[in-house]
Symmetry: C2
Subunit: 340 residues, 2 copies
DNA sequence: GAGCCGACTTGGATCGATCCAGTACGCCGG
DNA sequence: CCGGCGTACTGGATCGATCCAAGTCGGCTC
């Protein structure tokens, strides 16, 4: 293992130790098939003996590839049940590492400039590509990055311009809500309410359509059973109180775990027990959903698969191979707990 | 702004455009005080005009500094209320960027090898330093990294060897629990129970001592009011059921939000209302604590400050300045909610 | 006006891996 | 024994920013 020398061993050191030239060592690393097995073994043992790893900066300088993927972390939002990012990040790091990449995090400063941070990393050739996740707000980066010819993959569909050229991976939110509603119908519920986001949200309307269409397909009414507002605990709570008061739904389907937690607040305040008196479902399968008593049924996004797909697409992009599909849509599952 | 040329502008391009030499441009970037204001301005405008950013790989190769900080992400633990990482990560990225660094994430593969991933990044000079956070399990990396002479800062005290030489930043868990207990005492509670971790856990015992000593200081008993076990929902639930059954505490202080959520489960099952019938406090101020009805009082770690301290210390380490203190201990606060 | 100082600028060498063109060598058929 | 061919290996040039030692020039003093 690593000999204690003043400086880290270089490719030249290895070459000297193995009694071959630098290029041969380079080939041993990058194109081992060019070497006679015997030579390869000799080089390998020299590498092991010296504890050599190629200097990334030098390699990066020559090959113009950093093996880094940039991801901007958005300001954390407290008081929201959504800890999507945590799970996604883990999965992304795993998938990246398996593919020989690393994830570089940066922050975007103020939200005012959607490109803040991106530009500099791009120009200084610090990263090979980006993963863009902020698709909840219409994803203004996508267009701008595309303009600059920056390679990137988006987590989330380009709702505004469905013909966008950039590759993306997304989860079928509508299908997730359909799962939740079907589950509730199977349990005998007939008055199923919806609490979701403002009309302007494409994602919100997509999810809501799963509720709306499934009920109609089963000949059930949706009239007056829908509430739309902010993605906050408080809106969920107030919407639930109002619905329970006037429409007496037996189940409430929510567009997010945050809203669902708000509903649980409303139930607790009015002495109702979730799952017994009123069924509740959320969306994202957040940690809060997993640990809140008595357990919140929630739509779970397959983030591991999303991360893997993103890295796959990125590999195709960067390998200058043809990207097989522009967009890929994955299907969520339902984590059933005692709230339904 | 960025001219559309085939290749990114280099320092030489800028020099030519500004009518100066390369070195002058380099000085404009790294030691602007060496330039006449007039020249500096000329170089600056050339830089702006061309949209130039220094190539990171080249700079890294020459200066042997990548401006990257490595952080290993541990396998995500589902079903645990602890979303510390998320908040900490955000803060760390912010602080890093402010100091001119970026955070590089990598995964460690199997837990079997505590150094997995570190070694390669170190030898390939991919990162300048590490932040080590896995101090909950005795932090085996610290010693090994120190041996290799790798610069790093630990989030968490070196409990096993308090004389360790490496710099660290930690939060005073004991003081946090003292806050929680004092808060409960002020509300009139006299039978305050503890649910915590196994005796082997240094952190657990440190936090527990806050409970133990505060009660004794107020002349209150701790006899039979303490339970220790795994950091799981289920243990919290079972311990609470047992305590409530036999000792009738009026308040329960927990070593973690996960345990506290378990206690909430127990209360819900036995028809008790948190905050009214029994007070509960957790530790970490996780998202779950913030959104669970009716709100869980919890000790909040000052993670933003921790991240800032860590980056400060790293700056000292990497700048070859003297590290002013080996360890820095920060004090948490208490987020009071309706469970107490 | 010569001498000198200091501020500013210059070209060449360097970091370490890869690209490129070219050389040595073994094998074969003629 | 020679020429042709392909494999395996070699030395020099290159990526782009920084380090280094030396050079230029204006201004100042005597």
């Amino acid at each position: 293992m690593a000999r204690r020398t003043g400086r880290a061993p270089t490719l030249a050191t290895v070459a000297q130790t193995a009694g071959v030239s630098r290029q041969t060592v380079s080939n041993a690393l990058n194109s081992p098939h060019l070497l006679r097995p015997e030579t390869l073994a000799r080089v390998q043992s020299a590498i092991d003996e010296l504890g050599y790893s190629p200097n990334r900066a030098a390699r990066q300088l020559r090959t113009r590839a950093s093996q880094l993927i940039g991801l901007r972390v958005e300001p954390a939002s407290e008081g929201t049940a959504n800890a999507l990012m945590d799970r996604f990040l883990h999965s992304l790091v795993e998938s990246s590492n398996d593919a020989g990449y690393h994830v570089l995090l940066f922050s975007g400063g103020e939200a005012s400039d959607p490109l803040a941070g991106y530009d500099d990393l791009l120009r200084s050739t610090a990263v090979d590509a980006f993963v863009v996740t902020d698709t909840y707000r219409g994803n203004p980066q996508a267009g701008l990055l595309a303009q600059r010819g920056a390679p990137f993959v988006a987590f989330g569909r380009p709702w505004r311009e469905p013909v966008a050229e950039h590759p993306w991976v997304d989860v079928d939110g509508r299908a997730g809500v359909v799962l939740a509603v079907e589950h509730l119908l199977a349990r005998g519920h007939e008055r199923v309410a919806w609490i979701g986001w403002h009309k302007g949200s494409h994602i919100g309307e997509d999810r809501r359509s799963g509720w709306h269409d499934t009920l109609h397909a089963h000949g059930l009414s949706t009239t007056r059973l829908s509430a739309r507002g902010d993605d906050t605990l408080d809106f969920g709570r107030r919407a639930a109180l109002a619905l329970l008061d006037s429409e007496q739904p037996t189940a409430i389907v929510c567009a997010s775990d945050t809203l669902a937690m708000g509903v649980l607040h409303a139930l607790a305040e009015t002495g109702r027990v979730p799952g017994r008196d009123v069924a509740v479902t959320g969306f994202d399968d957040s940690i809060a959903a997993q640990v809140v008593p008595p357990g919140l049924t929630s739509v779970r996004q397959p983030l591991e698969a999303v991360a893997q797909e993103i890295i796959d697409v990125l590999g195709e992009l960067l390998g200058h191979r043809e990207v097989t599909e522009r967009g890929r849509l994955l299907t969520p599952t339902l984590s059933v707990r005692n709230s339904s």
